[in-house]
């Protein structure tokens, strides 16, 4: 296709939008709604991910206390066994000295007056076991409890449950994003289908004059891409004001969670929206005209 023809098609597509302002605005409105939904879904998704990571960082672990009479050597052997349990991502051994020092630093009054020898009979060595998959906690605890010399196991249940909830929310967010994108494409396709239906006569005329399919598609594709990009611009503008305001309002609730700031997100969000905007704009407008090209 020559530059002259490209220039003509671009000019023609803008002329078409100007002449058919009603459909252009409908298309832009739909695209804007689509982009906004996708942007919101994305913001929910990334913040949900952060929530999960934060929860994990805080205290998703199991502490397994070793029999006070067990030697360090024997305890380390048990440690190797624990590391091999499915779902365990790390296992750190803390000997009796570490436990006593920790007790001294955290609660000195409690240990005051006791010699280290006595304390060694009170504070056992222990393992700090971490894991990624919260759903495996019960299985891991069960396996650890079967190891020789393990006297007591504590699980940070609050953190585990919170992390499990966060995983559920994440799954919901992923499903929501998929549905929103699907719904948006459906919405866009239907809008463009209606537009194409109103243009079907013109498309058939173009075919009779000898226009090739790409020549007919091009102005509609350009219109679709342009509409998509304008919708992305409007969405970014709105999110730029609305998202920080939302964060501020949530921070006042003091729920302990800090949202990812827009400055960090905007680049990725822009790339995602521009890609989806161009894709939906181009494919949506050209795919729905296919049937009218068969003249």
């Amino acid at each position: 296709m020559s530059f002259n023809t490209m220039g003509y098609l671009i000019k023609d597509s803008f002329h078409g939008m100007r002449k058919d302002i009603k459909n252009t605005l409908i298309s832009l409105g739909t695209m804007f709604a689509t982009m906004l939904l996708i942007a919101v879904a994305y913001l929910v998704y990334v913040n949900e991910n952060k929530l999960i990571d934060d929860t994990k960082d805080r205290s998703s672990n199991i502490v397994a206390y070793v029999d006070v009479n067990m030697s360090d050597e024997d305890a380390k052997k048990v440690g190797y066994e624990i590391e091999n349990i499915v779902g365990v991502t790390s296992n750190t051994y803390r000997d009796k000295d570490y436990a006593i020092n920790l007790a001294k630093s955290m609660n000195p009054i409690m240990v005051e007056g006791f010699s280290d020898e006595v304390l060694k009979t009170i504070y056992p060595a222990y393992f700090v076991i971490t894991f990624d998959d919260v759903s495996l906690v019960d299985v891991i605890v069960n396996s650890i409890s079967k190891q020789n010399g393990i006297e007591e196991i504590t699980v940070n249940k609050y953190a585990a449950e919170k992390a499990r909830d966060a995983e559920i929310y994440k799954a919901i967010a992923i499903v929501a994003v998929i549905y929103i994108v699907e719904f948006s494409i459906f919405l866009m396709m239907n809008t463009t289908k209606l537009m194409m239906f109103s243009k079907r006569k013109e498309i058939s005329i173009m075919k009779y004059v000898g226009a090739k399919n790409n020549f007919i598609r091009a102005p509609f594709a350009i219109q679709g891409v342009f509409t998509g990009l304008v919708a992305v611009g409007l969405t970014m503008l709105l999110i730029n004001f609305a998202y920080p305001a939302f964060i501020r309002s949530m921070t006042t609730l003091e729920n302990g969670f800090s949202f990812i700031s827009f400055d960090v997100l905007y680049q990725n969000l822009l790339i995602i929206l521009v890609s989806i905007g161009i894709f939906i704009g181009m494919v949506g407008s050209t795919a729905s005209m296919k049937r009218y090209l068969d003249v």
Partner: protein, 256 residues
Amino acid sequence: MIEFRNVTKVYSTGIAAVNNTSLYIEKGEFVFIVGASGCGKSTLMKMIMKEVEPNSGHIFVNGIDITRISKRRIPNLRRSMGIVFQDFRLLPDKTVYENVAYAMRVIEADPKVIKRQVPNVLSLVGLLDKADVYPDQLSGGEQQRVAVARAIVNNPSVLIADEPTGNLDPETAWEIMSLLSDINRRGTTVVVATHAKDIVDKMQKRVIAIKNGMVVSDKETGGYIEEHGNGIMENPTDYSHLSKHNFPWSRRKAGV
């Protein structure tokens, strides 16, 4: 130029629009295809522009068997012909100039050539002063002249007109036919499907009559064929002429 060899078209409804029809149109001819509504003349026209595919037989345009060309090549076929419809089929969002220029745009003609050629053609059809007007601001006759201008702007070898005067008053219809006749005199083959009896009688061009999807008469310079109740034409001797046009390939084989 245009040749139908034993072409049959039966629609999915079971109606046989064209029934084992053969005919031949020479280069530079002006031919009327006449017949009652539903006789199959529009189907013939649609098959020439490859809007409708025959069930059997072959159709040649400029020596190419168009029944064998792929969908991808249909635009190329249509670029070799000009097409005029009863309902004008102009692009409503484009001015007269743009409508005519569009036919040149699709073949990616040089903009300089477009700027030179479009005014020439608009001048030929008498609409140069309406170049910047939109179709809905024109009368029916003017719109049809724009359609004719668009059809001839690329200097096609053949011009197909399907009921071009169907939506026009008699005076305007005659103007359009005169215009088509002028175009024919410049060397373009013109095929017109019509049931405008007065015009056909007046023009004294070749007339091919269709009934029930079959060629029932083919007169070199005749008028509209009046059909009697039994379907026999008023001049049965025309059938001898039919065979001449129907089987040109046999003439060629015989070295005629």
